[in-house]
Amino acid sequence: MINALRNPWTYIAFVVPTLVLYMLFFIYPVVVSFIYGLYQWDGVSQKAFVGIDNFKRLLHDSTFLKALGNNMYFMAFSLIVNIPLVLLISIVISKVRRLRGFYKSAVFVPVVISTATVAILFGVLYDYESGLFNHVLRAIGGDGWAREWLSKPKLAMLSILIANAWQNIGFFIVLCLAAVLNVPKEIADAAKIDGVNGWNETWLVTLPLIRPILFVMLLLTVSGTLKVLDIVQIMTNGGPFRSTEVMSTYMLKVGFRSLELGYGSAIGVAMFVITLLMSGILQRIARSEEVQY
């Protein structure tokens, strides 16, 4: 009877088209970027094999190191500012009795707006003369606080981080809220009988029990901030003076503007390896600390 589910032709017809696309547009570029990384090539003339020279060059390329540092800044900001804010807001939403649905829908609005649009929106908000940010600052603190948000090297990165937080926090809140509401009610009740109440309940009961979702959030933040691209490209394209350059914007410049396909691919490989390493470390930590309830 089960033989009906054993038709090799159906199996092939159902699996092969997917595999062809996946191999062609996913696996092949990954393999090729490792190979390109070993060559010096402008896309037109003969490829010249240079071994691991491109990778050695990476270690001494101050722009690449600056870009990597900016990715790390991006990551640190998202971990230190965004995640605690996400936890706070989602726990408070879980504690209110009324309007919970409204808050949940409202915080999610920025998530559905495209990154390109968010980048343009914040470009307008950050404008020196007309932007909302400087108008607010002028209204509360006098003219002295108004700034050229995107053209000052020291502020540009922070300005992008704020725009990025505005767009992404809602997604994490909804994710985290689902986990918080999923904590079994019996455990909270048991804790109450033991005299644990209010915010202590959050510290002692909720946070430990939502550890799995915290790891998901860490993982998404780490991998997301290592590959961040479009918001930076539209808002500053790495400027001013490379102050907001990240690995991916640098890779695209090297690959598509300077036409150094080999070196650009090496940057891609580096991104790939760093992401893999950091997610691997996080997953190892997560596995060793699995919670049971």
């Binding site: 807001i89 915080v107 909804v174 998404l220 891609g268 991104m271 790939f272």
Partner: protein, 296 residues
Amino acid sequence: MVRMLQSSSRMESEGGVHTRRGRSPGSQWPMHLLLGAYVVVMLFPLMWLLLSSFKTNREITVRTWSLPSHFNFGNYKAAWETAHIGSYALNSLYVTLAACFLTLLLSSATAFALSRMKYKGLSKKIHAFILMGLIVPPSAVFIPLYQLVTDVHLINTLRSLILVYCTYALPITIFILHAFMQSIPLELEEAGIIDGLGAAGLFARIVLPVTVPALVTVFILSFIGNWNEYIISQLFVTSDSLRTLPTGMATFNDGYRTNFSSLSAAVIMSIIPVLAVYMFLQRRIIDGMTAGGVKG
């Protein structure tokens, strides 16, 4: 991970009922104050932009805090004509829907074969191979991907976007559908087999209808992802008439950086469709995003 997220979103409605009961009606207004302030801060930029879109450039600078002197739609007319929002949106709609359709077609068939058809050893290997796609950051491989798309003569076509968007959605989609299909009881199929259905018939008449909730979730996920995609479309499509909405907006932005009234109107116009879809489908979108939270 996904299964955990799915179950958490399913549990949530029940959780909501529980927390309503058994608490003293203590004062909740500080919490509402905090959440209210947060929502205002998050939504105020959009409100400000909406008001700006009816103002003149001078009014935006000088009379920031007041309502526009009159609601003129001239900015919208100008932005619509110069930014070509309409044709960009049509390109986006075509690419998005075609890629979503192809993704659902391929991934549901593959997930069915991998989870239900009897080549288990092989299926496990293929499944693991496809899931490797979840850890590769696509942006790391744009250079060889661009070369490849050029070599197969798909550069500067909307078809290239459809194929690439579909491919990059496959791992997460197959992951979700595979998990869902494995939870369907085998008895359902046995009934179909008694009725004389073959593998393809079982897929189309029995498994697919049962899988509709998961299909809706992955459809919404890939719809939002494709509709918002910027970098691949900006790399692969060079003619202006083929641009998708996000790249079209970015191009418009480069040309009109100081004309804030037009820019505001264009941004508002590009947000309205997706916001409208969101209002209609909120619940499904939020649950879908929660279920697909591993995508990143």
